[in-house]
Symmetry: C2
């Protein structure tokens, strides 16, 4: 059974040739090619077949890769995403890794390594290379993120607002007690003492916009 891929890239020529390349690997099959994040949102809202992996370009018009990733994390927390980009931008790499994208590829990657990366991610793992690792090394809290669950990441985003936990609970459609659970587990994982600490942590690590 081959894994399904959704390609999201505004450079049509590149996206088309990438589609051909991916389809030439028999373990993978391209479900579709989209031009920006808004089309991704529409795709999911149209209840089309969910891809195993999304190949996501970062620089795109209308709705860029980071925004798309944020939307995915809110709405499809477990969606595997492999970021694909032209430039090595540390800030963005960090941001994407924080949002649990499964890997970060530069577009000048060799086809063999590209296939290898796809396989890594497909087998429920991550693909980490030079770029991503060096980007992560500059942040001391790097290990802490690995342990965050998708729900916890969503919670952090809500917690960094003036909402009370009760209101956050409503937004996330869970009981306040569940929120208390997220809070407690985050505080222990990240060695925090207060909600203020959580906000500062999130800001420092680009988990939220300011």
């Amino acid at each position: 059974m081959s894994k399904t891929i959704l390609i999201v890239d505004d450079h049509v020529l590149f996206a088309q040739s990438l589609q051909g390349l991916v389809n030439s690997f028999k373990e993978f099959k391209v479900l579709g090619v989209l031009k920006n994040g808004q089309e991704v949102v529409d795709y999911f809202k149209a209840k089309k077949p969910v891809p195993d992996i999304i190949l996501l370009d970062i620089r795109m018009p209308v709705m860029d890769g980071v925004k798309t990733m944020e939307w995915l994390r809110e709405n499809h927390p477990d969606q595997k995403v492999l970021a694909l980009t032209m430039e090595h931008e540390e800030e963005i790499i960090i941001k994407m890794i924080r949002m649990r994208c499964r890997g970060y590829l530069l577009k000048d990657i060799e086809p063999e390594e590209f296939l290898f990366a796809l396989e890594c991610v497909a087998n429920s793992g991550y693909y980490m290379n030079e770029e991503t690792n060096s980007a992560l090394q500059c942040t001391p809290e790097k290990n802490k993120f690995q342990n965050l669950t998708p729900r916890e990441v969503v919670f952090i985003n809500h917690a960094c607002s003036e909402l009370t936990y009760k209101e956050v609970a409503e937004k996330m459609n869970v009981s306040p007690k569940t929120i208390d659970g997220y809070r407690e587990s985050l505080f222990s994982k990240l060695e925090l003492k207060s909600r203020v600490g959580l906000v500062l942590f999130a800001v420092k690590n680009h988990l939220v916009e300011v």
Copy 2:
């Protein structure tokens, strides 16, 4: 009675000639010339005569103007500071204005205008020119800052940490109830609903580092 000035600038040649210029105005007298923020700290710690106005360069080795301003706000909240800099950097202007520096001058200013700025500040006012005003206009909350008291600004810095208000009270040598007063007045001035909101506000407006 002439007003006293302390010049802080690492460019010795410039600082010296500035000293000559200031001393040529009979309303002003230079108390000393320092080379960086650390020397300012030492100056105050040595209990030397407190100047009416500090002319503070931004780019300096060891301890720059912003850091110096932070230290001054913690330790001498009412010290009048006139920022003096080579480049027009909006981020820094905003930061300095937030910390209630009394004005922001570019080093290519005409001597007459320089004198005018000094007089403005000396007479317990502010000197605002094109640069500073345009920098402030880009932030929607610009007016809100004008009303912050020095104690409140110090409080904000402490509040943006994992300290409890009780601990902040100890740091500021006041009762927890006084802290509560600062908090409340800030909440109403800045239209905030929670400490988290205060932290977000401070981060957004560069009142604290992240």
